[in-house]
Amino acid sequence: MADITDLGVAGLRDGFRSGAFSAREAAEAFSAKVSRAKALNAFLVETPDHALGQADAADRARAAGEEPKPLAGVPLGIKDLFATRGVATTAASHILEGFTPPYESTVTQNLWNAGAGMLGKLNMDQFAMGSSNETSYFGNVISPWRRKDGSNAPLAPGGSSGGSSAAVAARLCPGATGTDTGGSIRQPAAFTGISGIKPTYGRCSRWGTIAFASSLDQAGPMAQDVRDCAILLEAMAGFDPKDATSLQLDVPRWEANLSSDMKGKRVGVPVEYRVDNMPEEIEALWRKGVEWMRGAGAEIVEVSLPHTKYALPAYYIIAPAEASSNLARYDGVRYGLRDLPDGAGLQDMYAATRADGFGPEVKRRIMIGTYVLSAGFYDAYYTQAQKVRALIARDFEQAWEKCDVLLTPTAPSAAFALGEKSADPIAMYLNDVFTVPSSLVGLPAMSVPGGLDKQGLPLGLQIIGKALDEQSVLNAGLAIEERADFKARPEAWW
């Protein structure tokens, strides 16, 4: 039998159901790989007992002749933004170092209810702020991919869900949870040659997920392929009365309705996404993607999203504004880090705790957010940004009159080397240029691998869909997946 850890979510599920292997065998095989892959720094905490416990329960249930749960036999990696009961949850920050929640996030609870187990907590950009994983307090994740030039320069796995992308790409887990605020699922998926979907805002409960920017944060799966994403998303999604922004809708049967037949579908290509200085290889991949869509039977239409260029500035006002308020609770009073210098008062404690507890990028965003919300600047920044957000929503509404999904590149470049952009926050923020507009409007969007660049690094294509129409997004992704036939994998060096 082939290596069990090469199997994806569907393969593991089906293999377990057919009796090809036990859930324990799968959990043990993945746990072993996790414990040997420390060089990637993808996992902050390893939880083999959780994975084994869920696996044993699945095995017992099968022995008792019970109908297997949807994710029985599937162990997963969990981004450290999700609160996990009894397991340290830090958002890769110093300020929450050692914090162990006595509660379980709704998304992870949904996964455990579906039979999945947890291999461990995945490294990430601190508080999900970053596009390279370099802002983690616990050291950056290193991408399993390397350039062909022999330089062996450590590459960014993307961010903020960089632990998730690296772990799936290195086959340390068949799938992982991610969260996406401005591209944090899609960009790392693109950088590492895997698939990832951010569903419509409100599909996945935010309860128990550490907040970055509440109006944008949305959980989603990252996995080897589109089908695996559909399976995982079905388990993660669902109405949650504990989240006031959760959508009170049944979860569609995305997997059962997967189809790569694009006949009768119109695929929009937004002209404004042809940004300056985009590498020719990405242009070329985009053209290929268009051809694949056509080949799958879709009609291609050019559409205009005229306010696209304002999306990134608006995002970098709204997200920091919300973050500056969301992160106020980390004050050293109730949990997490407390720095209380001798003879210090309350204000000193706040200052010392937060100065020590937050990394530079988090501080930068808290400062930006505090500034744009302050008296005298609020209208010029925050109110204006919300107006832009409304205009961008209208752009998409108008586009949907002409097409069913949009096809764009996921990121303006392949994975860059660690350290290459960390000195220039603007260059780093530009990574989000294609992913941010759909985030601002809460639309479902996914990245699927399309090919490799000259250096042998993966490039991704993004599909954006109408609100609640994850099915069309997944179907278009599947159509690309079948035609791109992306089989490349990083060679194990770790």
Binding site: S324, S325, A328, R329, Y335, Y350
Partner: protein, 487 residues
Amino acid sequence: MSDYRIQGATGEWEVVIGLEVHAQVTSNAKLFSGAATAFGAEPNSQVSLVDAAMPGMLPVPNKECIRQAVRTGMALEAQINRWSRFDRKNYFYADLPQGYQISQLYHPLVGEGAIEVAVDEKNPDATKTIGVERIHVEQDAGKLMHDQHPTRSYVDLNRSGVALMEIVSRPDMRSPAEAGAYLRKLRNVLRYVGSCDGNMEEGSMRADVNVSVRRPGEPFGTRTETKNVNSVRFVMQAIEHEASRQVDVLEGGGQIVQETRLFNPDTGTTRSMRSKEDAHDYRYFPDPDLLPLELDDAFLEECRASLPELPDAKRRRYEAAGVSPYNAGVLTAEVETARWFDALLEAGSDAKQASNWVAAELFGALNRLGRSIEDCPVSPAQAAELLKLVADGTLSGSLAKQVFEVMLETGDDAGKIVEERGLKQTSDTGAIEAEIAKVIAANADKVAEYRSGKDKLFGFFVGQTMKAMGGKANPGVVNELLKKALG
């Protein structure tokens, strides 16, 4: 118009007052979490993960709190906003776990309304309208405890997240008395509606007092805000002190600084807490964890249908039924009294007779016993029976008093007491005539005086006859027979 004026060294000053009342919403659960809200519980025993602002926790609005605020708005005949929104007010303090308070700055739940306030104690129909600018809903903070440890402060989060209504008046009040009347009336309406228990001692109602002074007829002066005053008396004291302080400053050539002040109940004075310069920048913005609050017709209908009869309407109903305006005002001033009185009316008592009896006899007795009407030893039904015995002539006024005393003591019904103790008044004309004859015979001189025009002596003969009858004679019959006998 109030003619309250402060006599300064340089002339008269008028005081302008606006009140922001924080009223704790009566609800078993907090505004955005399921945690309980009972007063006086062990510190930190009523705290959910949401109230402690644990990572990843989210607020979910409690419909009952919204409902109570809407009902309150309706009781003040205020504009109910079908679309409102919650905003975050950001500041750091150890009693504020989230680092922000969820409140409503830009789009409050309730808009413009009004309260009719009695400005003359003697005449409840003499009223002044005080505008209510808005009512918004917000979270309370926790409480710091500085007396638990020599060098540390402790935090109790029991109140953290409890729902408050902030009821903001227009600057329409012109005297401490008007402010007091406004507060009492507001508290009364809240209690009628059941949306706040109005208990200022337990902190479930407190006021921020905005005061400025001006020369009569001139534009508003600069105001100060005295925070968290927790009784009607203190509010009146704070206004008095603050207004005269401002007059002193202005007459001394100084200027009033817009600032936040604190009231000291021990001295009845206010002192500066922080000035506008070091005021917080709260960085208000819409709470992205919450969707806008949209109210539908069915919900509003239910809120309206559940409103009880309010004090003004009740007062007018009592007056229409023959109750004097003064008594009507007294009977509706507290919801518990009104409820008791309504039960008395429902048991069949005549409104006028009953109101006089409640105002004189019942209140007198309760005062004497140091009891409130909620634990009155006599039920409305028992009282109704007593009043019926008076109305049908079975008991005279003085006999009724005796019976009532026994009722208070024993809790027995009036009929039983009358029966057992033989306290029934008599209209037996034969017996009364016999006693009258004896009285006339024994007081021949007084009879002569009376007959020569000294009418006042009639009362003497009534008294003598009643005494002879052991107080049980029907006074009407005695009067009638005496008049006949004395010619």
